[in-house]
Amino acid sequence: MNRHYPNGLAIELEGVGKKYRFFSLDNIHLKVPEGQIMGLIGPNGAGKSTTIRILMGLVHQDSGEVRVLGHQMPAEQVAAKWDIGFASEDMRLYESETLAWHMNFIQSIYLSWDAAYAQVLLKRFGLRAEQKIKGLSHGQRVKATLLLVLARRPKLLVLDEPTTGLDPVARHEILRELTGVMTDEGRTVLFSSHNTQDVEQISDRITFIDRGRIIDSMDKEMYLDRWRRLRIEVPFGIQLPALPGIIGVKQDGRLAIATSNAFDPDVANAYESTGARIQRIENMTLEEIFVANVEHSREEVEA
């Protein structure tokens, strides 16, 4: 694989901090290798949008280095933005104009506009170019905004909540286009989403943000593999010991559920040696991991 950027990273945030009155981003380290899809997840207000705006050069960080496609941000944001397609949930197109006007506008600025692909997307998304933006439903507007970004085939796609508020069909269409981007090894995607299912499905790497801090950032398969839920039958009189990698145990009578974020089969043996019986060891969905992780990290901070 060709490495076009320093360290082969399309996006690199090092020690980035930003302070607001009631919220601050703290020591953000984020690396997105070229050719991968990075999913950014976290609760509302965690700092996803702020992080994205910082890497787009729209907000100037208070500390730390930001490099996107090899360019320092925000100083070189103009150069970077030629190759970035950005869409965020709070972005709006001009209501009084048609989608066709917007398409022409973008096309007149960017050389990389692929008119044929734009027509394909119009059809796939079920949009009519002659329609004015104000006549479109929310879902159609989101698709219109994404069309404007996708048809340019940019090297980097930065999407803040691209599937939020979309019906399942529209979501499926968007995911299809996003994974389609991966046909080209040199293209990279970073997207934030509440929809853990989407993130779980298409991300190569996952970054977890909560309250302005990065909690986890790693390879998705490795990440999913570290988490397990153990269903344990605890005989009367037995106390379950605290074990490494177990971040929480919920017990109700004789049945307990232990959650692990660094699973090791030895843990199961350790439980059984106390007399407890492991009923089942289950993988967890990203949504279940999300909730457990946020609870756990907040407990840790408060401790």
Partner: protein
Amino acid sequence: MDGAFAISQSDKRPMYLQIMEQIKQRIAVGDWTEGQAIPSIRQLAVDLQVSVITVKRAYLELEREGIIVTQQGKGSHVASTPGLGARLREQELEQHLEQAARIAALLGLRPRQLEHRLREAGDRLAEKEII
């Protein structure tokens, strides 16, 4: 060809395992034969709308089991081991038989009863095929 591949959201098993299973089924059933080229990691990821890393993991595990071979720059293909399809079918049968034995034990069936039930199932299948 790839329309028959599907990742199920309701299936609780990790996606890479589902992919592995479906690839093995393809080979077991004979859709993909020994030595046949299979979609590249990237291509399958795009077709299934899953991350490249998931398909990569599936392919790595399959390679470890000797079922497929991936060559740098040349793509991937089913291992050329003769009788691979048959072997995988054997594996699947073994899995189902173990499963049956486990459930039979839970039901309290004795081995002879299990044998009988298996024979009945075989007869039913034969009848259906005649009709």
